[in-house]
Amino acid sequence: MDLVQLQRQLVDYRTSLYHEGFLDEQFTQLQSLQDENNPDFVVEVVSLFFEDSERLLNELSKALEQQVIDFKRMDAQVHQLKGSSSSIGAHRVQKLCIVFRNYCEAQNVEGCLKCLQQVKHEYGIIKTKLESMFQLEQQILNAGGSIPV
């Protein structure tokens, strides 16, 4: 594909992400922080997010498999996840974290399990989408163009 088309595709893709509620303004903020001094800022932050979230999700799964569930610890971890997701603008994930926290407070195991599944699901989606977006951006860069804001 040629450069302009790629760029247009990227823009559309991004817009759809916003429209569908996967991302919110925070992501825009992140993008505005990226400049010549910090060219890979967004990628770095998002990668960090992925690492962090995967770790947290694993721990949460493990915690829920225990006989005696440590809700407090789980709550703290969900809080972390919420913080991270809100920092990059992963809107849906953040929302789910809030619900998850409520279940933790209520010490509702069923609810927690269900929520965890949902979070994992959403996380999976957003990860895929962001990775696709980054691929597009890379393609544009490779084609010698600049990433449209």
Partner: protein, 740 residues
């Protein structure tokens, strides 16, 4: 018979004669001998007798005479020579002594005589002294009487007792027949008999005050003897005999007003009473000097006692009056309080009760307007809405006014945009004005500050009311609104000579003039404009509606804002100008740390707004830490990141100007770091500014942050612009309290 040398009697001795001579001689001798004995006896008895020597002589003389006579006894008959010798000797001695005595007596008798004179003299003297003693005793007595009388008089503060006692005591002391007191009447032209000693009920005799006798008495401070025939002394039935002497004395009646603070009372304009004292008739008594003195002293004492009594009476009366007034005032106050309470209760109830149905009516009518309606129905609903709006405004006005009246209304001061207020008013008024084809123009002076401190809502209400009135009462033409800062030359207005506003550094006076070309107001109606509920009589204004409260409320608001409002008009049909001035504060940003975060007019900072600013970011969450770092790096800061509390405390130094601390994590640990940092840096200017980054700004979080001494809170997620403004504010004032 022998011839003897003795002489022979010439005649023959007569025995009888001889016998008698014999006996007589014997007795003489006896007497002569007994006299000295008596003398000796009595002299011995009396202690003093200066003339002993004379007595001895005299005694000797007598003894010798006696002896002679005794010896004579023997010479009647024949006697011997011895007898004759003895006789001769005796006679010789007797002669000597008697001559001596005679000579002595020449000296003595004058002395003796003088003794007698002296004795008489002394006796006279003694008699005189006795008399004087008697007099002194009498005076002493009277002195004692006076003291007792004075004591009696002064021991009572009751007028009548004083006077009665005086008369009684005087009467007793001086043994008077009658004693009377004449007091001046209210008119001061007559003297009225007020008290007498003997007559129980003095009939109200009056005597004109300007009699010469009375004048004489009044002009002298002494007791004056007057004639018993003068009118003041003629109060008893004419005696059959000589009436006793009469004395009159003046009794000054001292008034409160006569007493100056540092002065003795002046005796210039005086009222006097007259005391008349009469000695008993048919006695030869006279007025003695000491008695007159007594009378004068008593008169003075009486005057003093009377004045005391008068003062006491006055003060008691004043006190009673005060007590009555106090009681009445207390009652009035309680009644007023009850009334106020009742009014407040009424208002509180009415406030709620009235607003609720009004609200229902207005809300439902507006809803009704939105539905499908026929034109007549629409008209009806519009009328309902308009009327209920009017009613609602009226209720609000009344409630506001009553709060204003009690002074319980307080201005809600705050910083607001002045220009925005005027624009808002203009927007609200434009539709109505355009319907009436009125042209509205707004003129804001260039030196008018954009922001001011004051009660925005009420200022708007005032401006709106004034402009609204201008629009309401103009059928055509234009309305012009001008606003400017009142300068001191313009502050003195002929309309308001009592209003001298003084601008200061923190305040300015906003002057707004609203000029319209409407019906105008006649000069006599102008004062009534600001009174509640008073309407001008012209039918035009009546038809235009208005409850009459609007201007009264505006005036109250303007007064609360320490200003003044007035209306000028040249007369009916010539339009009018409403002018008001209010005091507004000039916002000083440094004075208001608690101000909610104000969006400043955005200036375009470049990305490196804070070059080299050293900040410390503490966040346990890796992702958000990175995001915050990215933000700050984008703004040009030199960011140090720490991920734990201990690390934060270790790393923080006075070079870091700001510390961003994530306090999202449930638990109190984040706050502890702030406390530790505060402890670490004792001097305020060395301490970095501590800002909390948190996901929730509920009250608890805010309180906790404030308590540990944090300088601000930022709610995550933070946008670039927000971070930029936060940092610039923080660095400018060192304090921000909340940024949402």
């Amino acid at each position: 018979m022998d011839s003897c040398n003795c002489i022979e009697p010439q005649w023959p001795p007569d025995d009888l004669l001889m016998k008698y001579q014999y006996i007589s001689d014997f007795f003489i001798a006896l007497a002569y001998f007994s006299i000295p004995l008596e003398l000796i006896y009595f002299v011995k008895k009396s202690a003093v007798f200066p003339y002993r020597w004379v007595l001895v002589q005299f005694g000797a003389f007598i003894v010798l005479c006696g002896a002679t006579h005794l010896i004579n006894l023997w010479t009647f008959t024949m006697h011997t020579r011895t007898v004759a010798m003895v006789m001769t000797t005796a006679k010789v001695f007797t002669a000597v002594v008697s001559c001596a005595t005679a000579l002595m007596l020449v000296h003595i008798i004058p002395d003796l005589l003088s003794v007698k004179t002296r004795e008489l003299f002394l006796k006279n003297k003694a008699a005189e002294l006795d008399r004087e003693m008697g007099l002194i005793r009498t005076q002493e007595e009277t002195g004692r009487h006076v003291r007792m009388l004075t004591h009696e008089i002064r021991s009572t503060l009751d007028r009548h007792t004083i006077l009665k006692t005086t008369l009684v005591e005087l009467g007793r002391t001086l043994a008077l027949e009658e004693c009377a007191l004449w007091m001046p009447t209210r008119t001061g032209l007559e003297l009225q008999l007020s008290y007498t000693l003997r007559q129980q009920n003095p009939v109200g005799y009056t005597v004109p005050i300007h009699l010469p006798v009375i004048n004489q008495v009044f002009s002298s401070s002494h007791a004056v003897k007057i004639s018993p025939k003068c009118p003041v002394a003629r109060i008893r039935p004419a005696g059959k005999y000589m009436p006793g002497e009469v004395v009159a004395v003046r009794v000054p009646l001292l008034h409160l007003s006569n007493f100056q603070i540092n002065d003795w009372p002046e005796l210039s304009t005086k009222r006097y009473a007259l005391m008349v004292l009469m000695l008993p008739s048919d006695s030869a008594r006279q007025w003695h000097a000491h008695e007159l003195e007594l009378v004068e002293v008593v008169a003075d004492q009486v005057a003093v006692a009377l004045s005391h009594a008068a003062i006491l009476e006055e003060s008691m009366r004043a006190r009673d009056l005060l007590m009555e007034q106090n009681v009445a005032l207390d009652l009035a106050r309680r009644e007023a309080e009850t009334a106020i309470r009742a009014r407040n209760d009424f208002l509180a109830v009415m406030n709620h009760e009235m607003r609720t149905p009004m609200h229902a009516i207005i809300a439902l009518s507006s809803l009704l307007q939105e539905t499908e309606l026929t034109p007549e129905q629409r008209l009806m609903v519009e009328t309902i809405l308009k009327s209920s709006n009017l009613l609602s405004t009226l209720i609000n006005d009344v409630l506001d006014l009553s709060r204003l009246e009690d002074g319980s209304l307080q201005l809600d001061l705050g910083t607001f945009n002045l220009f925005a207020v005027f624009r808002e008013v203009l927007n609200l008024i434009k539709p109505i004005a355009s319907v009436k084809k009125l042209h509205v123009s707004l003129n804001l002076a260039p030196d008018l500050p954009e922001y001011a401190i004051g009660d925005e809502k009420r200022l708007m209400q005032t401006i709106l009311n004034v402009v609204g009135n201008a629009v309401k009462f103009s059928k055509e033409g234009s309305i012009s609104i001008t606003a400017f800062v009142a300068k001191s030359e313009l502050l003195r207005d002929s309309q308001t000579p009592e209003f001298f506003p003084v601008p200061s550094d923190n305040h300015f006076y906003l002057r707004v003039q609203v000029k319209d070309s409407g019906v105008g107001i006649s000069p006599q109606d102008i004062p009534k404009l600001f009174t509640k509920f008073a309407q001008t009589q012209s039918t035009a204004t009546r038809n235009s509606g208005g409850s009459g409260l609007g201007l009264a409320i505006c005036k109250r608001f303007v007064n609360l804002m320490e200003g003044h409002i007035w209306i000028e008009s040249e007369g009916l049909g010539k339009g009018c100008t409403a002018i008001f001035m209010v005091k507004l504060g000039i916002p000083e940003r440094l004075n208001e740390p608690k101000l909610p975060f104000m969006p400043k007019v955005p200036t375009n900072h470049g990305p490196t707004a804070f070059p080299g600013l050293k900040v410390l970011v503490m966040d346990e969450n890796g992702v958000s830490r990175m995001v915050t770092k990215g933000l700050l790096v984008h703004l040009g800061c030199d960011v140090t990141m720490v991920s734990s509390r201990e690390e934060c405390l270790r790393v923080v130094s006075h070079e870091h100007k700001v510390v961003f601390m994530d306090v999202c994590v449930p638990g109190m640990d984040g706050y502890e770091v702030a406390i530790r940092i505060n402890e670490k840096f004792t001097k305020r200017h060395e301490r970095p500014i501590i800002v909390a980054l948190t996901g929730n700004t509920d009250k608890v979080t805010k309180e906790n942050c404030m308590r540990v001494g944090m300088d601000g809170i930022i709610l995550k997620p933070v946008s670039l612009d927000k971070m930029r403004s936060v940092l610039s504010d923080l660095l400018e004032h060192r304090v921000l309290f909340e940024a949402i």
